[in-house]
């Protein structure tokens, strides 16, 4: 119970910061959309090809924006030594992790909704299985947010944090990229086996969240 209360507190704090500073809304969201537009330039706006590549391009755009969201989530903690405040707040460290990851996940859900519309409009795709799409997006986003949060705190406070986090996160989330893309292809009717990939995404999300809850306490502490 206390865990959930702490989680809600931390997630609420991060989301409140984002709703007031509007960095996520005015910088990360447009960044995601412009990436989707750039892909069309790179692929010469070939409708047929864009439709086929849409699931992969969508997830690449989400991954890149997620890196920014993770960087933002931890640069907020660097300012005014907020990290020390968090450490001394007597909140459950696992709940702090879950709260920060939840806030990133909520931001990513909003981003995905907007990018989804952008992909439908710009790449001319139509979905056949909305339930599969939603479940895959949910599991993938939780896994992505949790992994990003683990590496965010791992590199927190280091000089090279901004450049280090992408190098650490991208190889680690290979399963999300593969699973999300394949499940979306299935939802578009381009492949089958979509639900099996959703299972993989769920397994990855569960592992990433558990790893984060266990590791966050020691990582947050001063050595």
């Amino acid at each position: 119970m206390r865990f959930l209360r702490d989680l809600a507190l931390v997630a609420g704090k991060d989301l409140r910061i984002e709703s007031r500073s509007r960095v996520a809304l005015q910088q990360i969201l447009p960044f995601g959309v412009i990436v989707v537009v750039m892909f069309a330039f790179a692929l010469d706006a070939d409708r047929e090809f864009l439709e086929r590549a849409a699931p992969g391009l969508f997830w690449i755009a989400v991954l890149l924006a997620a890196l920014l969201a993770v960087g933002r989530s931890f640069s907020v903690e660097e300012a005014n030594r907020a990290r020390d405040g968090l450490r001394m707040s007597s909140l459950d460290p696992g709940a702090i992790f879950a709260g920060k990851a939840a806030a990133i996940a909520v931001e990513l859900f909003v981003l995905e909704a907007v990018l989804g519309v952008a992909v439908v409009v710009l790449y001319d795709v139509s979905f056949t299985d909305v339930l599969l799409l939603a479940c895959a997006a949910f599991a993938a986003t939780v896994g992505l947010a949790a992994t990003g949060t683990v590496y965010g705190v791992l590199a927190g406070g280091l000089r090279a944090r901004e450049t280090l986090v992408p190098l650490l996160v991208l190889p680690a989330v290979t399963p999300v990229m593969l699973g999300g893309t394949r499940a979306f292809q299935a939802a578009l009717g381009l492949a089958d086996d979509g639900w099996a990939w959703v299972q993989l995404l769920c397994a990855f999300a569960v592992l990433a969240v558990s790893a984060g809850i266990v590791a966050f306490g020691p990582l947050l502490e001063e050595a």
Binding site: A155, L158, L164, L167, P171, P175, R182
Partner: protein, 238 residues
């Protein structure tokens, strides 16, 4: 002692070179002479995995309070560094072998792809090690990062294998897994694995000692700076 170890390693490596180049036969369906890359490819692959397993194990020992010693952190770093070198070698050698055998430098084969991801995972780990922090702080971050990376490898491998089988079932790769090994070839392969394992042990040992010296130097410099500071403040107050 170390010199003897080095001498044995060099002799074993020289013997491997001789057997691999002069004694074993070429194979027609495996790229002819290029099949000799087998004696480099298999040991580097084995050592990459061994090195990362040692890193994970040493990191675990560091994390458990009862077995925590700064040496485990240094060993984890030394082993990962050597492991990354062997992983890079494995990718390059695999690529060189793939060209004459399959006609391409790269195939999205499950093993190749997992290896490439593995390479980047540990490259990130090494980058994390190099960011300045106190040795305790670094030890903690790196130990957790090593364990997370090690746990990630099976999931990456599973997802890549699955992705690969869905895309191109029954590819040429089974052919490679079946390099028919016989007589002098298997003996040379065993020799090569042994020689390279010795090389791994030697390199890791050297790297570990170097890391220890580096730590000692930093420690001494800090002590000297403190002593100088105390002395100068003493002079001012006097």
């Amino acid at each position: 002692m170390k010199k003897v170890f080095l001498a044995v390693t060099l002799v074993a490596l020289a013997a491997t070179v001789y057997f691999a180049l002069a004694v074993t036969p070429p194979r027609e369906n495996q790229g002819g002479e290029a099949v000799r890359l087998l004696y480099l490819h298999v040991p580097t692959a084995w050592l990459a995995y061994l090195a990362f397993a040692v890193t994970a194990f040493a990191s675990l020992l560091w994390l458990v309070p009862r077995t925590r010693r700064p040496e485990w952190d240094l060993l984890a770093g030394a082993s990962a560094e050597v492991g990354v070198v062997f992983t890079a070698l494995m990718l390059v050698v695999g690529s060189l072998w793939a060209r004459p055998t399959w006609g391409t430098w790269w195939e999205w084969d499950a093993r190749l792809t997992t290896t490439a991801i593995l390479f980047f995972l540990y490259l990130g780990y090494l980058a994390l090690r190099r960011t300045g922090a106190t040795s305790d702080e670094r030890g903690k971050r790196c130990a957790i990062a090593a364990l997370v990376a090690f746990a990630d490898v099976p999931i990456v491998h599973f997802s890549v294998t699955w992705w690969q089988t869905l895309h191109q079932p029954g590819t040429v790769f089974n052919e490679r897994l079946d390099v028919k090994i016989s007589g002098s070839m298997s003996a040379t392969l065993v020799l090569a694995v042994a020689a390279f394992t010795l090389l791994y042990a030697y390199l890791t040992m050297e790297r570990f000692e170097l890391a220890k010296l580096e730590e000692g130097r930093e420690e001494r410099e800090v002590q000297r700076a403190i002593a100088e500071r105390v002395a100068s403040e003493g002079a001012v107050t006097a």
